[in-house]
Symmetry: C2
Subunit: 557 residues, 2 copies
């Protein structure tokens, strides 16, 4: 059952929020400063805004400035028996945004803690706080002329680097399996102690940010997708720039042919020729990068009519599927990888093209020459996509890949897009289902055949990408993009999401990450894994102070 | 204080062991079969044998045959309040061998659980039990003509694959960071429940062995270097064979030059040109591969006199340091990596040679021609080392690299060596200190300068390797090899070990793994990390049934 923000506001006036909380708010203000505690209705509603159309109104929002203040907050939480809900920058688009799982919690927004504490230019790592964004770190490296690239996700320039890692997101570079590229975490525990993982708890250690495992049980994984503590610092590894980067784009004209192409690429991912995370997206993922749903042409349809979809495909110069990835190394290494890739794709339906900076420049010039002709437009679209991907592969984040969230938005892409994209405040409706699949064509075909009819049934366009998240698995991201201002469409979107979620789950394609609305669905049978997680929670946070309900399916049952 | 096996045996006659344990032994025999429970003195002494000269006599030894029997054992342990000490095959050489941390525990030897449960030839993984050895899995792949190699360690063919992973050992191939190449663990918990990690707890999951993280907190790290459960099954990733492998060997003549060579190689490890774990060993690591300490020539010295060391170096055709690694890929990829390596080493004191199968064959033929001449002997030694390394890089384990343990053994290398090497039963004295260092020449020089005088002071030869365990850190392994039959030398060895351990620890080069004798030294100050570990232990095993004292520094204080 969904409770509206208005209902929550009324309830909180008599309950958790409102005057009853005056002593708590006073104590919080003493701890972190008057201006860093906000309990006004505007602020609370802003944090409640969600792409999921499932808002939880927080009690208040606190913005601590340092680790010591986070410790103070945890102690106050224990004293006042209030739940804290930490967010790094609150931009967990499609999975809950800045919302707590439950209403009436105190949002701890860590975005002010945005220091880049150190960068080691010899051993290629940085130590950062939760508020550091992709853009900030990218800029820092360029400003200081450091020979490194960051791994970028498509979630936009102003999202938290650390927050994404803690949710086990994945990026586009060879460092895209992000959890494998951190070392040395600091976590404020519910009892107010600060835990340093790896070797970090030995003050004299020289390799805290170089060797993640330390000695004794390796705990970092505990603090990802969990509610066991508030992470305040992490060492992240930076990717050394390479002499050469080639971006490659494959187009597969017909849907029926994508499976064979994936199977042809698998050996190259397995043997390390393809070191970066390949992304395989359907036509709509590319089309939606430049525009919203063409309401005027689609009439009363809420899903693209086939003919129109074909036309948009044509205009973008793509097929049913597009595959994108990058090759890194010396010129000789990239040439060897390119040869292996061409060899592997021979006999498949994939048309591969390789982009270098030079090619992109030529393409842009040619597109200008061709002007507003169909060929000119198509080339311009291709160059635009290429430039965005190319930049991302070299550590420059881009908001363009968030565009899918805006697909059904009335009024189109807002003025600030893509640099200042904020799908939650921009009134976008978006829900993500993220099943993991074996890296096999047959599984992609099976999953697609399973979910496409559901999207059709509910009248939504199916946006889907499959990313070669490691050498053996695909991370699928299925987007339900909907019009948040149409209550009927919101209801259909929720049903569509629910249906897809249940189908992929039942079929064994379990999601790698879920939105707040699905936490309780993760443990239908009370299994040993979740019992173990609950025991650890009880040991580390017996009063349930930190993010109750977050990856805690049994909470509130 | 060390208590002799004899003292322990006398004590156990009146205490834990002996007749008092008759009901427990009876119950154990009912659970796993009469022949699978042994409490006789011979068996207990055999399991107490340790390279560390610090034995703990077990109460008895149980060898369950399947997971259900492990569950039964855990329940009996709770009922009879006896501690279980699981070992995979009990070959944790230099770190405690098959010994429990404390005396009077029930050794649960899992070596009979040695099934290779499945191998997926498309997605390149195997599911194995703890008793599966390196040799067994290697043989399986060759017998079934599967296109994969295993990652090998130098610990010998009959060591447990899984046991090494759980202790966070590292191997020689691109899969040498072994913890990054497992997915889906099964663990029997102290309450008798079976935990499946990753997606494994969803019975319908299709990617249990393909995507390690699952959804929710990632728990695998908890069950490495810990005593939180008894792991009974794991999915391990197999490395696809590549069209081409080149082994390379670098010789660095003078000690003073090794630092610069390491710095020259670092960028290649950082940028992924060197995907496998490079091993950098001093002269003695190579020399000891073929022979023991030359007592007859060394007179009363227990450490090699400089002139003799120079002579042995000369005969082996090596310098002060040898670097060994492998390049994998297509012919073009390997050629590109070779070129990058040559380029990087230009201007350093390293002499690099690249071995292919063809070169090794030619070398062997040439050595035969040269016969017993000095050049012939040198070439034969080089070919022998090359062959062993080459085999290991392609998934064939080799006992040769265990030879260091036999260095001070009277009577030389035993008849079964290296195939049946068992340093504990072969009466070898060996202690390992394994500090992690930043991947920097300066740190190698500093650490070496710190420990060499200690070895000199106590009259031991310094054996040391540094392995590029990841892109930013070196895993050092420092061996104290001693004569176990000389009580005075045993005492000196312990003092030498203790001194080295304390020095590297104080200098911030914290060990990545420790022997049983050093568990309690891991937490000198009662820090938050170890308190957190203790809280988790309390949550998962409140009665302390599983491996008390193992990576539990506070135990028994």
């Amino acid at each position: 059952m969904t409770v509206s923000v208005e209902q929550q506001e009324r309830a909180s006036g008599q309950g958790l929020g409102g005057e009853a909380q005056a002593p708590l708010l006073k104590a919080l203000r003493e701890a972190v400063g008057t201006t860093q505690v906000r309990a006004d209705s505007d602020t609370r509603r802003r944090y409640a805004a969600s792409t999921a159309s499932r808002s939880t109104l927080p009690l208040a929002v606190v913005t601590p400035g340092c680790q010591a203040e986070v410790v103070a907050l945890v102690k106050l939480a224990a004293q006042y028996r209030v739940a804290l809900y930490p967010v790094s920058t609150g931009k967990n688009w499609g999975y809950g945004d800045a919302c707590a799982v439950g209403a009436g919690q105190l949002i701890v927004d860590l975005s002010r803690m945005n220091r880049i504490l150190s960068v080691d230019s010899e051993l290629a790592y940085a130590v950062i706080e939760p508020g550091v964004t992709q853009q900030q770190l990218s800029d820092y490296l360029r400003t200081h002329k450091l020979p490194f690239w960051i791994d970028c996700t498509g979630a936009g320039p102003d999202t938290s680097f650390m927050g994404n890692i803690l949710e086990r997101g994945f990026g586009h570079s060879p460092y895209g399996n992000r959890l494998q590229h951190i070392s040395g975490l600091q976590v404020v525990l519910a009892n107010g102690e600060v835990l340093s993982t790896g070797f970090g708890h030995y003050p004299q250690a020289r390799t805290t940010h170089l060797f993640p495992y330390g000695v004794g049980p390796y705990l970092d994984g505990l603090f990802t997708q969990s509610n066991f503590g508030i992470a305040t610092r992490v060492g992240i590894w930076l990717m050394p720039k390479t002499a050469c980067v080639n971006h490659f784009l494959c187009t597969v004209e017909r849907h029926a042919d994508i499976g064979a192409v994936i199977d042809a690429l698998r050996p190259l991912r397995l043997d390390g020729t393809l070191r970066s995370i390949l992304h395989i997206g359907n036509d709509l993922r590319v089309i939606s990068g430049g525009r919203v749903f063409p309401r005027e042409q689609a009439g009363r349809e809420t899903r693209l009519p086939d003919a129109l979809r074909g036309e948009l495909r044509e205009r973008a110069g793509i097929g049913a599927w597009a595959i994108s990835g990058a090759l890194y190394g010396s010129a000789a290494q990239v040439a060897a990888a390119r040869a292996a890739l061409k060899q592997a794709l021979r006999g498949t339906a994939a048309k591969a093209s390789f982009l270098s900076e030079r090619k992109l420049r030529i393409g842009a010039a040619l597109a200008a020459l061709l002007g507003r002709s169909a060929r000119g437009q198509r080339l311009r679209a291709q160059v635009g996509l290429g430039e965005a991907l190319f930049a991302m592969n070299r550590g420059v984040p881009n908001g363009r890949f968030l565009a899918g969230a805006y697909w059904r938005r009335r009024g189109g892409l807002p003025a600030g897009f893509p640099q200042r994209a904020n799908p939650a405040l921009d009134q976008c409706g978006m829900l993500w289902v993220s099943p993991i699949l074996p890296l096999r064509g047959a599984d992609v075909m099976e999953l697609h055949a399973m979910v496409d009819p559901i999207f059709k049934q509910y009248g939504f366009d199916l946006f889907v990408t499959f990313s070669m998240i490691n050498e053996r698995a695909l991370g699928g991201v299925i987007t339900v993009a909907y019009d948040k201002e149409d209550p009927a469409e919101v209801e259909r979107a929720k049903l569509c999401y629910q249906n897809v979620f249940e189908r992929v789950m039942a079929a064994g394609y379990i999601p790698y990450r879920v939105g707040n609305q699905s936490m309780s669905a993760l443990d239908p049978h009370g299994d040993v894994y979740w019992q173990t997680v609950a025991r650890i929670k009880q040991a580390l946070d017996p009063d349930g102070l930190i993010a109750p309900g977050r990856y805690q399916p049994g909470f509130g049952r």
